[in-house]
Amino acid sequence: MTGIFWEISKRNIRIHMLRSSLAMLGIVIGVVAIASMGILGNSMTQSISASLSSVGDSVIVTPYAGSGGMGPGGGGGGSSSDMYLTDLNYQKIKRAVAPNVAIPIMSTSAHMKVGVGSDDIVASIYGLPTDDTKTLLPDLEAGDYSNGNSGCLVGSTFAKDHNIKVGSRISIGQDGEYGTLRVTGIIKERGMSFDISTDNALVVTKDWFENAFDRSDDELSEVVVKVTDGDTADVKTTIERQLNRNTKDKTVTVTDSKATLATIYETFGTVTTFVTAIGGISMLVAGVSIFNIMMMSVNERIKEIGIMRSIGTQKKEVMSMFIYEAAIIGIAGSAIGGALSLVGGYAISILMLKTTEYLFTVASMMSVVEGVSFGIVICLLCGIYPAWQAANLNPIDALRHE
């Protein structure tokens, strides 16, 4: 029986093509808005996720910014950038987190030149114990880890920007006063990270760093704990308990990368939901338009409904006819919207993220599915009341309707 009512619904849409197309257009816009925003949100989350993937499970310990920690000149206070952790701090951390590895890191920024006659560059330099370099930076793009003191690793972006290859020489200091380093390896791109940002930096041995910049073991910039045993939250608590015994006199700030990541993901999730909800508003407007058109359709066909009912059409069959009409508009509009949202998602990804790498991922495609489903559901919901009203018309009154 579905056949004849489905056919009537199709033909009614066809004879009111302009009106139906406009209703469909509303749904198309709604689906495109929801799906494109969803694609953008998911792409952003995945993009951030990819750039943070190298962080892994680590806990970062830095000097407490509010403490009177020791500065380069022995003074207290100031920002955390000119404050250090002492070797005693490091030993305590090391003991507290065992068997996890605690890596002491020194850092500074310095002028440097690549080759003879090149421009002066300012970049970050990290000093790491030779044994721990591989633990913290396990992936190299080219070359190998440094065996001696005069070797260094460089970040991939730094290497690309300054045309540095394995074997290139970099003189540190404005006039090379800190010495010259030979590039032994190029570190694979790590993106944004909580421990050290190597993409635009040099990594040298801790011994070389101490000699070149006249630093002692009591001048550590941070300690990174690679958590392989236990939970990062537990490690964080342990360190805080050991080093920040007194809440008024804190020594260190401990950052749990996992918890920070979770917060970032949560924030991006909220942003995605928010922008998708904005798209949802256009869908609601489209729904109102569908509702209006369905009510018009019912009002125009009151007499037809009266005839149908008088010759033996059941209420549910009249209802189905209008539901089919809403469904046709919803399915067609949502399908077109779904296809166009891929184009919209592509355009937004290019404009905002400069990449379409995350366009065809499961999460992004789910946004399209959600947009299309929402479009169909909205159409059906907006068709229910008009359909119900049509089905419940009094046949006698409907027959008399002019």
Binding site: S310, P395, I396
Partner: protein
């Protein structure tokens, strides 16, 4: 043989804000199978209410109505709808065909309602030929047909499920006299072949085609 329509002391009251209006008051009559009856009366006499009750579009306030022996007073909407579909054929003054369907589809529509599936168009074509509609018009839409042709299609639609009763509401009211006469001749022919036909009209010429006339005045049958 039991009557095809039986009204027993039927009262129909419409409750309105200004007060109840009694449209039909204690009506009793019977229509035997194969009869050709006209119902006449002035405007507001209760003709339409009587037609609605006979057509199971409405239920009485009191009294009993039997269609082919089936009491309709306590029937649900679904049961009344099925009764209309299976046992009653409606013919309206303004033809009331479905403009979105072609002629054959219009005639097949009640068949599809009854069988709940797509049906063979053979029966619809047969009935359309019986009401003398030219074959070339079968795939046209109603608006492409003349009034007389549309009414023939409406009669074919009413006949397609072999109903017990044909209820006609001013069937010639929207036609010129010549076409109206041809439609009434068709009705007479159907009656001769055994159909039970009830025509509601205010036109005495139409009533002349029928075997018996029931006159309604102020909601009562006038003897």
């Amino acid at each position: 043989m039991e009557p095809v329509i039986q009204f027993k002391d039927v009262v129909k009251v419409y409750p309105l804000r200004a007060g109840d209006v009694t449209a039909l008051s204690h009506i009793s009559f019977e229509v035997e199978r194969g009869e050709f009856i006209s119902i006449m009366g002035p405007s507001g006499s209760g003709k339409s209410t009587l037609l609605n009750l006979m057509g199971c579009l409405d239920t009485p306030t009191s009294g009993d109505i039997f269609i082919s022996g089936i009491g309709v007073r306590n029937m649900s909407d679904v049961e009344l709808t099925n009764l209309r579909r299976d046992r009653i054929g409606f013919i309206f003054q303004y033809f009331n065909l479905f403009p979105l369907l072609n002629i054959v589809e219009n005639v097949s529509f009640p068949q599809m309602l009854k069988s709940q599936k797509q049906v063979d168009e053979k029966k619809a074509v047969e009935v359309l030929r019986a009401v003398q509609l030219p074959d070339r018009l079968f795939t046209h839409t109603p608006l492409e047909l003349s009034g007389g042709q549309q009414q023939r299609v409406a009669i074919a639609r009413a006949l397609v499920n072999d109903p017990d009763i044909l209820l006609c509401d001013e069937p010639t009211g929207n036609l010129d006299s010549k076409t109206g006469a041809s439609i009434m001749e068709l009705m007479t022919d159907l009656h001769r072949r055994g159909s039970t036909i009830i025509v509601v009209t205010h036109d005495p010429h139409i009533a002349e085609y029928t075997d018996r006339t029931i006159r309604i005045v102020d909601g009562r049958i006038a003897e």
